[in-house]
């Protein structure tokens, strides 16, 4: 409002705006300005909440869910890392890790213990992905409702799809960004990578067979035979779905895998969790 210091500025345009109407206009503009500033602050808060605070909150509820399932095997620091070239100084002391003996592994879904589908939002399994770090372990809970499962508990199981180890398609979804982002590095998975699922009674080791990027309507991704709806399954498959590209709803990133073997819990760790991918 830098106006030249002309004397008697009010006299310059006396007919157009009386002081009264000018005051009303000022009040309206002031009100609009305050509303806009408030809206800007709220939007800024929303972005901060979505990008950072959801990770904090969801990370907490996810680790709580992991703590609650008493049978989940804790992650072990593998002895093999001592031979890595990245180590500075003395190699870390080896940690003895019992591996599942070969004769307990069953290289087929036959005889695998398959748990019944639990109630929504019940955590029934853990997922280990060696490609995402030997310390990557996340809870898997029933359902794919955003508010009740995916935003709070992380990875969710598509209701009605097969359970771990069963013939059919064990289909799970997870956030790629925000809310603890369990599938943030899904694009780094390669053919042959292991996806290890643990339930109370068994380990299920799946191998990645491929990935694809499809539209959100591509429901064939979670069909009993992945990508081929209507066919009768003979294998135990796994499907991971998440959004693509990051921060977008445009496409879905889908990773498929097939069961390599299963083994009962209590006799050691799958070697896939110990070896470097």
């Amino acid at each position: 409002m830098a106006v030249e210091p002309v004397p008697n500025i009010n006299v310059a345009k006396p007919a157009r705006s009386t002081p009264q109407s000018r005051r009303v206009l000022d009040a309206i503009l002031g009100l609009v300005g305050e509303i806009l500033i408030t809206a800007g602050l709220v939007l800024g808060l929303y972005v901060a909440w979505q990008l950072f605070y959801t990770d904090v909150l969801s990370g907490r509820t996810q680790s709580d869910a992991l703590d609650k399932i008493t049978w989940a095997e804790p992650v072990r620091v593998p002895a093999i890392t001592a031979g890595g070239t990245t180590g500075v100084g003395a190699p870390e002391p080896s940690v003895e890790v019992a591996l599942i003996p070969e004769d307990l592994k069953v290289y087929s879904p036959a005889g695998a213990p398959v748990i019944a589908e639990p109630a929504e939002a019940t955590t029934f399994a853990t997922l280990h992905v060696p490609r995402w770090g030997t310390d990557y372990v996340k809870p898997v809970s029933e359902g794919t409702d955003r508010d009740r499962v995916l935003d709070k508990l992380g990875i969710g199981h598509y209701t009605g799809t097969a359970m771990p180890g069963a013939v059919g398609n064990f289909a799970i979804a997870g956030h790629r960004t925000t809310y603890g982002k369990p599938f943030s590095d899904i694009n780094t998975l390669q053919k042959g990578d292991s996806l290890v699922v643990q339930t109370e009674s068994a380990w299920y080791v799946y191998t990645v067979t491929g990935s694809t990027i499809e539209t959100p309507e591509y429901i064939a991704a979670i069909a009993p035979v992945p990508g081929k709806p209507g066919e009768v399954p003979t294998a135990a498959s796994i499907t991971l779905t998440t959004c693509h590209p990051k921060f977008s709803a445009e496409k879905r990133f889908i990773v498929w895998g097939e069961l390599k073997y299963w083994a009962p819990t209590g006799s050691g760790y799958p070697s896939e969790l110990v070896e470097q991918p």
């Binding site: 955003r146 809310y179 309507e217 591509y218 979670i222 889908i254």
Partner: protein
């Protein structure tokens, strides 16, 4: 307009009003974080990760 009005209508001396304002602000931010933002986020499609129109 809104904010000066609130300030004028708060009771007590200046420091008491400041505390009330801080409290009100905390309540607003908390309710946004707890209820409003989670609801808004679930309405927006940008975070969806499922197939089949959930």
């Amino acid at each position: 307009m809104i904010y000066p009005w609130i300030w004028r209508h708060l009771p007590g001396p200046r420091w008491a009003r400041a505390i009330t304002v801080a409290l009100l602000l905390a309540i607003v931010v908390l309710s946004l974080f707890e209820w409003v933002f989670p609801w808004v986020s679930a309405q927006l499609p940008y975070q969806d990760q499922t197939v089949g129109g959930q």
